[in-house]
Symmetry: C2
Subunit: 140 residues, 2 copies
């Protein structure tokens, strides 16, 4: 990811292909996963961080709805399938070395995303400059 490039480019193409090309050459990790950052398409808020395997990626691109790989259940996960919190993908991006995705989504159902019932998983701040570190509720 980013300047910290651990990619083994040889198997996927040249570094130039990967970084400047128009071909999708995902750098799946040892578990066959990419990291995916999901943000709210309207507010820009980071809603969650999750993972996609090759099939989740393919289904997301094909359907325009977010699919992930659930590491706990070890299964494909169509987000919102039971909760109604379907994530419609407005835009999808991939990073320089093709090991991280960024999707901008609109959330269906009650608009929630986190399993705690909140809109975003990132509902607590870590104040900078404080020791010992602590968490405080985020304003929004």
């Amino acid at each position: 990811m980013t300047a910290d490039n651990t990619t083994t480019s040889a198997a996927r193409g040249t570094r130039r292909d990967i970084e400047e090309g128009v071909a999708l050459m995902p750098a799946f990790d040892g578990n066959g996963l990419l990291t995916c950052v999901t943000t709210d398409a309207d507010t820009g808020e980071v809603l969650m961080v999750a993972h996609m395997n090759a099939e989740a990626l393919e289904r997301t691109i094909a359907s325009g709805e977010a699919w992930y790989w659930s590491r706990s259940r070890q299964s494909l996960w169509h987000k919102g399938d039971t909760s109604g919190q379907i994530q419609t993908v407005v835009e999808m991006r991939i990073d320089c070395d093709q090991d991280a995705l960024w999707i901008k989504v609109r959330v269906g159902g009650d608009g929630g995303c986190c399993h705690t019932g909140r809109r975003s998983c990132f509902y607590r701040k870590i104040p900078i400059g404080e020791a010992p570190a602590r968490l405080v509720p985020s304003d929004g």
Copy 2:
């Protein structure tokens, strides 16, 4: 991460402590790392995805500047130390199960973040609904 909670809570506290508490209890992965999403504090743009180990996290909180763990170099990485692209942390958040961080930053130097020279690592889109998948330059 998020609804896909693979955390072994027992070693860190109860699930309630982790999800609703005010104590920092990071769920480092098998390599001792947390995933960190870095966004532009002013535009909300996702700039990069990287990792922090315990020391990088501690230094970031203490200094208000982003420190990461470089997986390729296997060393602490004070972002911008050589390039001048220091990331000043405006806000730091942690997610529900405490295995992912979100920092909002202002970037020093020339404002760049990606090792390709671009402002963000996410400079290519994957068009939704197209097969085969391809990449196109992002507008911004």
